[in-house]
Subunit: 752 residues, 2 copies
């Protein structure tokens, strides 16, 4: 698939995005191409939202017969290949490998009302319309499409908690709106839905559902600029007559109206109540001014994108700013404007002192997205951690994969611990919460589930106890344990620090010297045989979405320990070389493993730090080669421009870091390891008011190696920089060359 419609988009910007220009600021949103990652397995959300907004208002399409290999690519509700739209829904996931949300479907329509979505390729058999890409326009904070079957132009924008629809009926033939609370996609099924026709211009309701989130509750309010002439309610296909309230598993409404001008709807969401949803509308979008709302949304995007002024060719800038844009899709705000939010313990909390967030895809995002936010977003980062501590208090352990007040327990390890520990070390936890944060880390680390009871006893998890994924769990536990170790050290809890130091080294138990990989172990101490380092069947080996080759590098917390295990720098580097030069063979592969360079899989998270491991062995130039090749091969300005799931922004955050030449290989030690920058200059406008610039000299497509580095004008021999130095502001200069300077940071003193 080729991305051939850039012209259309550019024209769009000249009309709509001009608002950002008016503010006399550089416009960064012109470099956002929301289609990147919307084809193939990228699974990104396409539609209108604002940074970290709860509302992600966009089209939901027909997932062509659900199975893992077809419907999977509609996890977000949208795939670039579809040219059919069922309606517009207010919540989406972006880049996940499991589908949920797509709540509160609204569709403007003409003609005879339908109550059920059309099947694929048979749009006359149900509701929904054909569209064409030529008539679709996507920007940060704005979405537009012509619903051809109805001849209705639909435009969408959003604020944090409100979706704003504008429907221009080019023809009027029984014009109506369909509200379908029964609409479902992917894993999701509605359990209880409710609509109330409050007055001529107001509808409220809720939609509760069971899916990936076991018990998801969305309350909403719809305000219309156009009078409702009548509303007919249905439960599934059955008319619900006589009352202005309908409640059931699958409530729908056909709202008839006679628009004299475009129909505008403001749809407020709340995790708590319709009252709050109405208040959210009033607070965020009080006016009926769609253009102004769009401008506000795009200003919000520009305000976060400008936090990194990235100078490069337009194509690279587009890939970069789209990655930065995607880095702000989650976590999403979960507090109402009045401070109410829904706890994981199914009760409403009110806290005006912080904002609660949800959609924590932590196994992905602890690696780069959260570290990126510790640089760009002080207050948000604090709120993310405070949200996790609240979740800890409600569910007894830190979140794993949290979705709308539900712990989904998806993926392996204890991935909140690195985030909390990193925040602690970086001063992003308020003093009064430090002990609570430590309690949360320790309690979580001292659990019993999934082999953790072996870890607490300082031993390995035998495959008799855990027939699949034991190595993945153990390696992730060891990473989290380094976080616990860092936190204990930080708070001067020496006994605990000594204990967790042992734990973060438990990975060594799995190193099978005979094969040179981490391998599952029997209770009697022997390693699993037969052993195939390429074997990668989903949920059916000792790893998780990977094979032995991919997992053998998963010790970011103790790279020196891993180097030692493998026999020193040379052998370590040789093995890395072998890894990236092996055939791209995968035996019975999980579809999550993609973006291959040899056995290196950029398309999934466990390898994200691998290019930066070379620096630990004194060969950062080899890492530069790998990271440069990965960035240029697997990140393109194209709907298929992501090589795997965006994973709620982690893949994009990896690119944001890598493109500016640094990466938090160990996301709990405050170091960012150098790679191979793609830009001329990247200036970080830090939340403390300072700026930190990364300049490059002699950079170019072939000059991918760092020849030497200056910090604030002085020679800087290290292959990493610290968080502290970045936050102090200043200027880092990479002098690039086409040939590697193999001496740069080769010495142990200068390695990360």
């Amino acid at each position: 698939m080729k991305w051939i419609f850039r012209t259309t988009i550019t024209i769009a910007f000249s009309i709509i995005a001009s608002s950002a220009a008016k503010a006399q600021e550089p416009s960064y949103i012109q470099y956002v191409n929301p289609y990147i990652g919307s084809a193939d397995h990228g699974h990104v959300f396409v539609g209108a939202n604002v940074p970290n907004g709860l509302v992600q208002l966009g089209p939901s399409q027909i997932a062509q017969t659900w199975d893992r290999f077809n419907g999977w690519d509609w996890c977000s509700g949208y795939n670039y290949i579809s040219e059919e739209i069922l309606g517009f829904t207010h919540t989406h996931l972006s880049g996940t490998g499991i589908g949920d949300l797509n709540d509160i479907l609204i569709l403007p329509a003409n003609g005879s009302p339908h109550l059920h979505p059309a099947p694929f390729n048979q749009m006359d058999k149900g509701y929904g319309s054909k569209i064409s890409k030529a008539n679709e326009k996507v920007e940060a904070g704005y979405y537009k499409v012509l619903l051809e079957d109805y001849d209705i132009l639909a435009e969408l924008t959003a604020s944090e908690r409100v979706g704003y629809h504008k429907y221009t009926f080019n023809k009027k033939d029984n014009p109506h709106l369909l509200i379908d609370l029964g609409f479902r996609m992917n894993w999701d099924t509605p359990t209880d839905t409710y609509l109330k026709w409050v007055d001529d211009h107001t509808i409220i309701g809720y939609r509760f559902s069971k899916g990936w989130a076991n018990d998801q509750k969305v309350y909403f309010a719809i305000k219309s600029n156009t009078k409702f002439d009548n509303i007919d309610f249905y439960n599934d296909s059955t008319a619900v007559k006589g009352y202005r309230v309908a409640q059931g598993k699958s409530i729908k409404a056909i709202v008839t109206l006679n628009p004299a001008k475009p129909v505008e709807l403001k749809v407020g969401l709340s995790p708590v109540s319709t009252t709050n949803a109405l208040q959210n509308i009033e607070a965020e979008i009080p006016d009926w001014d769609f253009a102004k709302a769009t401008q506000k949304a795009q200003k919000k995007w520009n305000d976060v994108l400008k936090k990194i002024d990235f100078q490069a060719d337009d194509n690279t800038k587009t890939i970069f700013y789209t990655a930065l844009y995607h880095s702000y899709f989650a976590p999403t705000l979960f507090s109402d404007v009045n401070g109410d939010y829904m706890g994981t313990d199914k009760q409403v909390y009110n806290d005006k002192t912080h904002q609660q967030y949800t959609v924590f895809s932590l196994w992905d995002t602890y690696r780069a997205l959260h570290p990126l936010m510790t640089i760009l977003e002080e207050q948000k980062s604090k709120n993310f951690v405070k949200s996790m501590l609240n979740i800890y208090q409600q569910q007894g352990k830190l979140p794993v994969w949290h979705l709308w007040a539900n712990e989904t327990n998806t993926m392996v390890g204890l991935p909140a611990i690195p985030v909390v520990a990193d925040a602690m070390l970086k001063g992003l936890i308020d003093k009064q919460d430090l002990e609570l944060a430590y309690e949360a880390i320790k309690t979580t680390a001292m659990g019993y589930e999934h082999g953790l009871d072996f870890v607490t006893k300082l031993t390995y998890i035998p495959i008799e106890n855990m027939s699949n994924e034991s190595v993945a769990w153990a390696l992730e536990y060891a990473i989290a344990d380094f976080g616990a170790y860092q936190a204990a050290k930080f708070l001067n809890k020496q006994e605990d620090a000594a204990y967790f130091e042992k734990r973060y080294k438990l990975y060594k138990h799995y190193y099978d010297a005979e094969v040179g990989h981490f391998v599952g172990r029997h209770a009697n101490g022997t390693f699993r045989r037969p052993f195939d380092p390429f074997y990668a069947e989903h949920r059916n080996n000792d790893y998780c979405e990977g094979n032995a080759w991919q997992y053998t590098w998963l010790v970011p917390q103790d790279v020196q320990g891993l180097i030692d295990l493998m026999g020193g720098d040379r052998k370590f580097v040789e093995k890395l070389d072998e890894f990236i030069n092996l055939p791209e063979q995968l035996d019975n592969a999980s579809p999550d493993i993609s973006g291959m360079i040899g056995q290196y899989a950029q398309g999934n998270e466990p390898n994200h730090h691998v290019p930066y491991l070379y620096a630990y062995a004194g060969a950062p130039w080899k890492g530069a080669e790998l990271v440069h090749k990965t960035m240029t091969k697997y990140f393109t300005n194209d709907p298929a421009g992501l090589c795997g799931n965006d994973d709620v922004g982690q893949m994009s955050a990896w690119y944001v870091f890598s493109a500016v030449g640094i990466y938090p290989a160990n996301p709990m030690d405050g170091k960012y390891v150098f790679g191979s920058p793609l830009m001329q200059q990247a200036t970080f406008n830090l939340p403390n008011g300072k700026t930190f610039s990364i300049k490059t000299k002699n950079n170019g497509p072939k000059n991918i190696y760092i020849n030497k580095v200056k910090l604030n004008g002085k020679n800087y021999p290290y292959s990493y920089i610290t968080h502290e130095l970045i936050m102090q502001g200043g200027e880092l200069e990479f002098e690039m060359s086409a040939k590697p300077n193999k001496k740069f940071a080769a010495d142990k003193t200068f390695r990360p």
Copy 2:
């Protein structure tokens, strides 16, 4: 079964109930025998509560293998015949024919902990203990029992929202508490439960369940006077280790402790949050003083019982005050102390201006319980109606049978309308709510469900449309329509009044002159044949829990119309005579039909007004015979002292009215029809500060007829009194005689 343990109870009062005496008020609670109605089909709650309190803390027992005819008699959780207790639960239903609640089971125990309830008659196979009636003590607001298997004395008392437990461990052998959120009885099944060990003395949690209430949510907090040494959590039988929070379908906790003195627990409930549950404890029972809490509870009971000072022999007083006590078991408070409550639309509301109530068994209680409360409880009555209006706003129609924020839609008709209309006429709806109240009545009356679409078109419901119960629905609709008519008239909505006047007379369509009964009609106008006026199969005739004989009188709103239909006074009275003199034959009877005098069934609601119908035909003396016979035959001071389900107080409220000699035969016209008083004197201490006394002269077991009546010393020729006259205060005197005065109120002028 005979009630042979009155002695024990009397002794109990001398110790515990003395608190009421201390206040230098007459003690009425000594005349409460909570066992009345606890055997057979009475289904009353036995345990500790306060008037209209949310918490009803009492034992839950083993419903011996559930089927309609065995387990049915444990609908409340308790039956007098059981001498086994599984634990103490905090919510119960009283007198219903469907079982639910019994939430949050706590059991103090010794020995090896059990996680599952013992089966019937095998107490060693699970948790629970044998008890003996000799060691059980029940009073208003207090419950005590010796758990013999554990040698633990358990005492219970309550406030509105808090249950207070006191456990004296006579022996200590691994003393522990079991908290079983998975415990279920009857229709109920837990769907999601949660426990959090907050600190050494505090546990919080919730229990959500599906049962009669489709989605019931109870939040709670437990405060203990004794330190918890350890808590082990389980989900069903599986240990949940490592965390202090457990969540799942069936969470249980074994709390080990080492009591130096009796263990006391205060358990606060909330429909909204654990935070509110804690606040409810703090507000209602701040101290650790079980005796004081008991005194407070009993004072609250005395304060409502004293609203009618009823002078009669002790046995009659006991039946009377127990009936008055049972009249205060519901509706139950549903607002937290801070004004929060859970709406039927699944969201939390805060309203400090009124108190929300739940447990509205309206098909039962519109007949006598709500009218009784309009005399005794001005503020509560206002709150009941305001609660119903809130429910209307949330669910689009007035409640039918409302249970913990769930509309169960149980029974037939629109039984909230009479209550709202009666309240409107009696000045119990605030001015600013009058239009809302009318809107609620009219919207509810204009619905489409259950044949209502025929009624709105002023025609009958054909049996082709409703194969069962069409007559029952139609007659109840006509009753509600009289309420709508009264409300429209009150608000001077003349067009509506004319329309609803037609509707309340639609009952005439069902009168089959050939058989002299109301009979289901075909669409073509013919009546159902074959016809058997005795046929009474449950949910399988044109009636509802009754037969044609029983339903033929169900026109309280237009008795004169019914008399006319039957051919005048004489034929009407003859038919009533025939009715009560028929054999007590029932063909395929519903178990709800009981308490027979001929075909008159006191044990179910549709006949409750029948004895008073004689007065409408000028023969109140015949009604006196029937009501006297019913009261003395079917209301006894005995566990089996109710002849059918108490129906959340309706059966008891019938007795309260009938025993003082008046009854609201048409509960929407402000008239109370005279019957046959049982007392020497009954003084109503009215909420407006006035008193209304009903005195009798020459009353006695044989002097059951009203010979003549005086009101405030003057001759009073009417066979009814109005609400207005009662509320003005004054004195009504019934002169009784052994022979009927057939002239009394025989004249049309003096009939109701």
